[in-house]
Amino acid sequence: MSDDDFLALVKSYEGRPCGPPQRAADPVNQPMIRHWVEAMGDENPIYLDPEAAAASVHGQIVAPPTMMQAWGMRGLQASLNPPAREDRTPMDELTALLNEAGFSSVVATNCEQRYDRYLHLGDHLVSQTSIESVSEEKKTALGAGHFVTTRVDYATTEGEHVGSMTFRILKFKPPRSTP
């Protein structure tokens, strides 16, 4: 396949939804919030202390807003076991195409999150992701690669839109490592 054909192929994924809406494995919950704030060293009491949260503008325990993306992450087993070919989403297909062309490493480069409101215990998120853009091949400090930008909209299972995210990764050819 020529470089032009390859670029046309990966660009054909622009604008496509990454499969059906994804329901988070679990609703917003205190244990996952606790793991997060302990890791971050975040001592804001609105995340763990019911009384302090009730006395704040939030009125109740809330999740850290920057945790929004974490609720929808697929988890360990799905990370270890890529989906069968027939179950692949357009994003899985695009990732496989880039991997097969040698752009096998990935690094996140940009993230913009917008929050309509903070999430409460029990909110159950549903995310809808679409592929916004695939760049031409760029030379970067890490190696040659393609930037892939996705847009994610987050809603509750009741259908209330609660936030959105624009996320950009670089799929790049790793420099040859010496053993």
Binding site: E38, H58, P65, A70, A108, S177
Partner: protein, 147 residues
Amino acid sequence: MSAAGAATSPIRAGRIALADRLPELAIPITRTLIVAGAIASRDYQDVHHNAVLAVQRGSKDIFMNILTTNGLVGRYVTDWAGPDAIITRVAIRLGAPNYPDDTMVFSGEVTGAEKRDGRDHLTVAVRGANSLGDHVVGTVELNVPTC
């Protein structure tokens, strides 16, 4: 950016002005932080916990994932702004990776402030720099009680 003019933490309503600087915050980048942040964010990409595979993939070592960077940026701003702050937007761009045994120092400056609906709506420019350069540069929008 120095810590000169640093506000006490958390800020009190009505004391914020354009060009106010947030107190600096130094975050030791340990393996434990990188792995704990990756797992707390359900990010099992091997480059965030497996040094051998990270090197095979062209990295110097394991490195912090972007979800942890987001979490730390949010924490940095609310450490200063307090529990009555409401963050509405976080936009970040990553540069130099956060590898283990480094230190990232956050600095920030108020670049926008307007009163609306009884709250002060602020824009804060945030920078997190390690020994390699800027790990993260970003913008946080939030609102806090006005007086």
